[in-house]
């Protein structure tokens, strides 16, 4: 059940020109309400912005003290700019936990596929899963490939493949090439967990389907309430119905999503 809570900023670290690593003392959100990576919280970003901003949790409850939650976000507009200017000790008004994380309840072999700012929401799955996993992480270019994030995948995953659109780091090209190769080489994968821009998700979902591996994708849509009340964050499903990113998602079964909507 979501609650409204005032959280204290425990630390702020700048990862690159536009990206920040923010740790929150999330208290009850983690301890009693079980906030986990892949879920999101809805943050009031000052009085100028009427609507809250949804930001995914990268990892929560695994560090010491155990109520910390890590957010990694990119400055895209006024709201995230405001967020990036917070300092240690500042208070944030957040709603959470919101949405579902990835469903990893079943034993298996997991392939984590992240693109850009979609990499952090997979972090907890990279670190804390009790089942074997491999990561394919894509970035636009080397300078946008947050070493502080990547290293935590490299530390915990069986393998971590890096790709960049411009070839400045790792494999040259989009992640779907690496995903195809990986799935082709190793037939033991039972789940693909993907987070990133929609075109990436679409092609990863296609590759996974090709190999018959179930795929979960974390989707984005513009939100108002963040809790399922306003029906603002609808996305269309293959069967023509609407589902809502904030309540039914952000993680969806890739097969159900209407990728051409």
């Amino acid at each position: 059940m979501p609650i409204q809570q005032i959280c204290t900023v425990a630390s702020m670290t700048q990862l690159d020109a536009a990206t920040w690593w923010m740790v929150l003392e999330a208290g009850k959100l983690v301890e009693q309400h079980g906030l986990t990576g892949g879920q999101f919280i809805h943050i009031k970003c000052g009085d100028d912005q009427l609507l809250r901003r949804p930001i995914s949790v990268a990892i929560a409850g695994w560090d010491e003290p155990e109520d910390l939650a890590t957010l990694i976000f990119e400055v895209r507009g006024e709201g995230t700019r405001w967020l990036s200017q917070r300092k240690e000790g500042d208070k944030l008004d957040v709603l959470g936990p919101l949405g579902n994380g990835f469903d990893v309840s079943r034993e298996g072999h997991y392939l984590l596929v992240g693109g850009g700012i979609g990499v952090p929401p997979l972090m907890e799955y990279g670190e804390s899963l009790s089942w074997p996993r491999t990561a394919v992480l894509g970035f636009r270019t080397k300078d946008k490939a947050f070493p502080a994030v990547v290293s935590r995948f490299e530390e915990h995953c069986e393998k971590t493949y890096l790709c960049t659109d411009d070839g400045t780091l790792g494999r040259h090209g989009f992640v779907d090439g690496q995903v195809r190769e990986t799935l082709a080489q190793d037939k033991s994968f039972t789940q693909v967990l993907a987070c990133g821009p929609k075109p990436m998700l679409k092609s990863v979902a296609a590759v996974a389907a090709e190999f018959g591996v179930p795929c979960q994708v974390s989707m984005e849509e513009r939100m108002a309430c963040g809790v399922g009340a306003c029906l603002g964050c609808a996305i269309r499903m293959k069967d023509g119905s609407m589902k809502h990113v904030c309540k039914d998602g952000p993680v969806f079964n890739a097969e159900e999503v209407d990728w051409d909507a």
């Binding site: 409204q4 513009r222 309430c225 609808a234």
Partner: protein, 307 residues
Amino acid sequence: MREKCLDLSVELAGVRLKNPVVVASGTFGFGREYGQFFDLSELGGICCKGLTLHPREGNPPPRIAETPLGMLNSVGLQNPGVDAFIRDELPFLRQHDVAVIANISGNTPEEYGVMCEKLSEAGVDMIEANISCPNVKAGGLAYGTRPELAAEVTREAKQHAAVPVMVKLSPNVTDITEIARAAADGGADALSLINTLRGMRIDVNTRRPILKMNTGGLSGPAVLPVAVRMVWEVANAVKLPLLGMGGVSTGEDAAQLLLAGASAVAVGTALFADPCAPLKVRDGLAEIAARQGLSAVRELTGGIRPW
């Protein structure tokens, strides 16, 4: 002590609300979600998400765009249909001590009638006939902008309703009092206003409107002064009780609408910034009434002293 003496209750077309703060249709679903944040019985009333005779999927996304102290939406009446509401949602709402106001939109006057019959029988406290939703291409807009159609829909709704019918007006008109009078002539028991103003936002990089429907309905603090003006105009034009809304996020905002002539207010968009906004509006209103030495909040209604 002082607050104990203050009577918060109001009456809207014969329906008693324990306090004058209602939540606005479409911003509160059927109560389940925000019911996680506070007890729904704290509210004066709940205007439910707009219902149609048959289920609707609503408009394609994106449906939300932010604007300066406002937002645009083009949700477009996504809802499970009136029967599913009665079956799946009304029983939950009825567990709470709160007035349940069903909001309906029809494609024809007859559809309004059918829905009124079903909802009256199912036992809602009031029906809010939305003749103003600017998102549905067929029907929706026209009813709210043409007096003769507004009157016809109202008559049809009234004929089939066993509970009070409140007609919800659109602000996208040259003279809102004309439509208000038509609804009054049609037999409306109350009026609610304002629905959203039509607006647009363009992403200057992609050159695309942010909303897939291109335009949408503007709500939030930005529209408050328009709402206050229209409530005042309508209060001067018809003798019906009014549910005022549009941009309310504080007790002071609500007090403005009451003074302008509303009997109760609805809080919508403010919920998205703060799930407890309706309770804060209620408490802020009580504080203002107490400070002014009133014994009942309802004394504010129509208390404006125009120049």
